[in-house]
Amino acid sequence: MAVRSTTPTLDGDPAWSRWANHHRKWLFAAPAMTFVGALIVFPLAWTLYLSLTDAEGSVRAEADFVGFQNYLEVLSDTDRFWPAVARTVAFTGVALFFEVVLGMAIALLLWRPFRGERWVRVAILMPLVATPVAVGMMWRLIFDPNIGAANQILGWLGIAPQPWLAGRHTALPTTIFIDVWQWTPMVALILLAGLTSLSSEPDEAARVDGANAWQRFWHVTLPLLMPTVIVAILLRGIDALKTFDILYATKGRGGGSFHEVETLNVYAYGLSFDYNEYGISSTVLILFFLIIIGSMWLLTSRNKKKDAQ
């Protein structure tokens, strides 16, 4: 049998087929890698180059090489850049915190089977497949200070109406709320998949030892689930850092007239396509990219250290 398998019967033209089968590893992988590579490597290299020039107005216009001047300018910009960094970090951090805590709670509620489970799962799926721009518009109506449902509900409870998206200090928390509404289900589904794959034995053993529900969750289930929690934070965190659609849909260009929801992504978009400041925008994007890679690296290296123990 082993002898026969070294000289397989080839269908089609033998020479061509033998070559294809011999090189199938790269024959299969190369087209996809070339496609992604061409769309990433060249643009990224060009962005890096632009960040070292004073390109503006038109990408075709003459640009002078200015070294790291853009980086000095951006890093000392306390008017737009650093506030955008702060908003990006706050948006991602706060949204992730609520998404993981609430997502964990929902996953635990769904863990054991119950009647009507199917319908609850359908409800959970709806926000996260909904089109983010449409979701933004939907909340824009609900949070409208004059005609929105949010203030109407506050009115029933006897609470004064809030400006929500229209307020200088309430806009960012409101967009965080929208992000939490849309993406908590995603975290819940990932954690639920993790929970279902856990063996029930450690939990049973702890129950026999007399541990209460909270102790069993905190000391048994959560540590076992930690790898899945990290994956959920990683997947969600990358997308939260890059949030654009709901911010643009609710506040428009520049993150509102006072830039109240201007994160790094919104800032870079505005620099590129509203102001055509290609040099500065490329610099912001390179720094933004470094922040994303850095936070991913931090998260995964901590995870690996824990695995090694």
């Binding site: 087209p31 060249f42 359908v122 409800a123 089109t131 995603m186 890059k242 925008s281």
Partner: protein
């Protein structure tokens, strides 16, 4: 088993709160899409109003939404089909030959901020006179779909036992033949999962279309902004437009729930 415990009551109440807070806003949007703008401004008409389809006729007829629906469908289908064509064999190779570093190159596409690619893309594609056409839209959406498909399918092929393909080769199939006749048919559920997810992500994509689409190639998420003016917003029209954009995708998800969930949670439990 049937005994009612305090926990069961708590769980039922908590689940009800979860379901209501996730679904009520969507129902609110749909309800508003059937109201006149006068009724939307009238808080006494919150629940009781005479429904009108005027917003929908406006969206579908005056605002040319039938064209935009066609654009969104075409771009999502083409991007998904082409990404499957490139992505499924690549995922197979990366899984079977354990090409983790090559896979990382493809997955980088999920990490990079889209804006940093858009300026160079815009420059190159406008030189090729492609900006505003379908080609560039489909290519940019493939950039989102392809990494997603590779990621989902790699996990799927990792779980597919190698023995089946090996015994097929013993029986005289070439390695590529074994992929085509054994691995590919067996991975149909995985391909369905990857394809559905790719379609949803492409349909919902906003930023690439915002920059790269033209007046005739606009996709639905961009077309929503036609209802947002500088001075005032046509709320009824805006909610009808939002419903037209998002309801089809929610209905699809309803029918293929299992696939959507397995795609969204792919790779989450391997650690």
């Amino acid at each position: 088993m049937g005994r009612i415990t305090p926990y069961k009551v708590f769980r039922a109440v908590a689940l009800a709160v979860v379901v209501v807070s996730l679904v009520a806003p969507l129902l609110w949007m749909i309800a508003a899409s059937f109201k006149t703008n006068v009724d939307i401004y009238d808080s006494s008409k919150t629940f009781r109003f005479s429904p009108t389809i005027a917003n929908y006729t406006k969206v579908l007829q005056q605002a040319n939404y039938l064209d935009f629906i066609g654009n969104s469908l075409w771009v999502a289908f083409a991007a998904t089909a082409l990404s499957l064509l490139l992505g499924v064999p690549a995922a197979y190779s990366m899984s079977r030959f354990n090409m983790r570093r090559s896979a990382l190159v493809v997955l980088m596409a999920r990490v990079i901020p889209g804006v940093s690619l858009l300026v160079p893309w815009y420059y190159v594609f406008s030189n090729l006179r492609l900006v505003g056409g379908f080609t560039v839209l489909i290519l940019s959406h493939m950039f989102v779909s392809l990494p997603l498909i590779v990621y989902i399918m790699m996990g799927f092929f990792d779980g597919l036992p190698l023995e089946l393909e090996e015994s097929a080769q013993v029986d005289g199939l070439t390695p590529i033949g074994a992929f085509r006749r054994i691995a590919l048919p067996l991975s149909a559920p995985g391909i369905a999962t990857a394809g559905i997810l790719s379609f949803i992500f492409s349909w919902n994509n906003f930023m690439f279309a915002l920059v790269l689409s033209g007046a005739d190639t606009k996709t639905l998420p961009v077309a929503i902004f036609d209802f947002v003016g500088y001075a005032s917003i046509d709320w009824g029209g805006l909610m009808a437009a939002s419903t037209v954009v998002t309801l089809p995708i929610m209905l699809i998800a309803l029918f293929v729930q299992k696939y959507v969930v397995s795609g969204l949670t792919a790779g989450a439990t391997k650690g």
